[in-house]
């Protein structure tokens, strides 16, 4: 009985949101308001350090859009964020929580750098293809394990994916201490990979590389899978109501494994674009926040591929502008993390407001209809 009630709630809610989608300028502007609120809250933190937030923000804008190099850098920084955002967002569509994108990203990066180092004599296209495939498979198999234990043992995917991140970090550090360690043997990092493994740059004399196009294509693929295939339909069905999907004959356990496989592939590819496109080497503990930022981006982008791309670009701009502000003034670098955190929290707040507005509007509509009838 309880379950029936819940199903009804969900269908009612979805009908409501369909109804009000026609006239909702305010609703569409909500994400922008929430980003502004997040930045406002961060400015309080800046004031605590005796910095004028207006100056900080205008500097950030100036730096981020100063020249073509910096603008290109926004897109370069957004590239892995799109992918880890998709990793969380894709699983979220199935009501699954893959919060281990960080670990899958590291596994992808380790494989990409390992193969790139060995394939110096290969032609570029082949070397890149192998690195790409290996990082994709590495990330997806690593993540498919999470889906498997969820399906087979009903283990909490939330916990397992979180814990696997720490295991992945240990694996990476172990390899950087031995097998992959640079020839000089001084620091826990690899040698620079041969140029056959470098993703070509998209705009000359900038750091923007073809990985960005890859990321956009991956976002498109994610969209097509979710909304244009029967697999995607099943995935969203499982996300909407697991039990109903099961009654409708969907093999829910199989969906768990497939979703994690695909989600991990996205994060693994992020390792490829970062190694072959950006860093050209693997350094211990690099990009430690990329998984968490991906989660934030997916929340901000409402777990929709297009929203994720836009949010990733916003975070990219925050990073580029933020990094330069941090370098040129005495603000600690952690302010960037704070801005990201406050933005995500205000987005959650905006979800609450959105739901309230939707309910209010549909109530009004109902009342109008009743009056009309009378």
């Amino acid at each position: 009985m309880k379950k029936n009630n819940r199903n009804k709630d969900i269908t009612v809610k979805s009908e409501l949101s369909v109804k009000v989608q026609d006239n909702n300028i305010l609703l569409n502007l909500l994400p922008i308001f929430s980003v502004l609120l997040g930045l406002l809250l961060s400015s309080i933190m800046m004031m605590l350090l005796d910095h004028n937030p207006l100056i900080v923000y205008s500097n950030m804008l100036n730096y981020a859009f100063r020249d073509i190099y910096n603008i290109a850098d926004i897109f370069a920084k957004a590239t892995p964020l799109i992918l880890t955002g998709l990793a969380f967002g894709f699983a979220f569509r199935a009501s699954l929580f893959n919060i281990g994108a960080q670990g899958q990203f590291y596994i992808g990066a380790v494989l990409a750098v390992g193969f790139a180092l060995k394939l110096g004599s290969f032609p570029m296209v082949l070397a890149l293809f192998i690195c790409f495939t290996m990082s994709l498979l590495g990330g997806s198999i690593w993540a498919a394990f999470i889906g498997y234990v969820k399906a087979r043992f009903n283990a909490s995917e939330f916990l397992v994916s979180m814990m696997l991140t720490y295991v992945a970090i240990a694996v990476m550090n172990f390899l950087l201490g031995g097998l992959l360690k640079e020839a000089k043997g001084e620091y826990p990092q690899t040698d620079v990979i041969p140029e056959s493994g470098w993703l070509p740059s998209l705009i000359p004399h900038t750091r923007l590389h073809w990985g960005f196009i890859f990321a956009l294509l991956v976002a498109l693929v994610a969209y097509l899978i979710l909304w244009k295939t029967s697999l995607g339909y099943k995935i969203r069905m499982v996300g909407f109501n697991r039990d109903a999907a099961r009654y409708a004959g969907v093999n829910v356990e199989k969906i768990y494994i497939i979703v994690f496989f695909i989600s991990g592939a996205f994060a693994g590819i992020a390792g490829f674009t970062e190694i072959n496109g950006m860093q050209h080497m693997l350094i211990e503990g690099f990009n430690p926040m990329i998984g968490a930022e991906g989660i934030g981006i997916a929340i901000l982008g409402n777990a929709h591929p297009l929203g994720i791309v836009i949010s990733a670009l916003l975070f990219g701009a925050l990073k580029v502008g933020g990094n330069l502000v941090v370098q040129t003034s005495r603000i600690p670098a952690s302010i960037i993390g704070i801005m990201e955190g406050f933005v995500i929290l205000s987005v959650i707040l905006s979800y609450f407001i959105r739901d309230k507005l939707i309910v209010l509007r549909s109530k009004k509509k109902l009342v109008e209809q009743e009056e009309h009838r009378l």
Binding site: M45, L48, L49, F97, I99, V149, F153, N154, A155, S156, F158, L159, V160, M162, M163, L164, T165, Y166, V167, I169, A170, V171, N173, F174, G177, M289, A292, E293, I295, G296, I299, P332, S334, I335, I336, G337, I338, M339, E340, G341, F342, I344, L345, I348, L349, Y351, F352
Partner: protein, 307 residues
Amino acid sequence: MNIITGLFVATIRMSTPLMLGALGEVFAERTGVMNIAIEGIFLMGAWGGFVGAYLTGKLWVGFLFAILVGIFCGAIYGYFTIKLKQHQIVTGVAINILTLGLGLFLYQMLFGIPLLPLTVEPLKDISIPFLSDIPIIGRALFSQNSLTYLAVVLIAVGYWILFKTPLGLIIRSTGENPEAVDVAGINVERIRFLAVLGSSALDGLAGAFYSIGFLGLYTNDIIGGRGWIAFAICFLGNWDPLGILIGSLIFGFAEGLSVVLLTSNFKLIPNEFLIALPYILTIVATIARRKFNVPAFLGKPYIKERS
């Protein structure tokens, strides 16, 4: 002190914050709210403890401040998840991201970027005369700091409250059947909010254990997933304080083992594997533990019936 004694001492010591965090989690989850912000609250507790102790020179101020910081974070989490009924995992993850930036920022705000990490004198061990002289286990059981003794007492008190008092009945019912609690005239949201505040206070204290309970310093990776492990112990201990006690000891042992082996000259197993040991153990335990007694309304906001 030989290696076995050292291992036992380290086991009990490392299990202390896990006991505190997991106990808090039990109370929150028994009312139906997962406190996913636990990792972030651990971190803010570690920060608060260090700041309080460093600025005043008094450890108890540090612990008190850590508890207050924990309650503050818990209030934000509770407001979003209970009052605004937002998704618990999403909100918790957001708070964890925020605290990662906040911990470092607030530390640098107060102390700049010191060349060497600032230190305070950590909590001293209290040796109980005679008992602590028992060979092998004496030091482990009777020569720990006061927080460890407190954690064990709190587990016992927690068990008593949860299963032997009317309050415990209300707490458990709120997670199993909130409608019944509501009909009985008890405010479900208030019970949940208070449980989250209480659990966050314990999380703050647990976090402070890492910074001023035995290390005596603060770094941004001081927690490094221990909050999640406490969260896991709550699951694995079947939402029962006694299960928590056993779970914490097992994980404390894994962590103690890796600490003892890392500091000894034992080089057969790579260090990285030892560091990963508690996390691997969590995964194995999560998979192996099949029969759960999950509170029926865990993770679901309570929406009053309106007609």
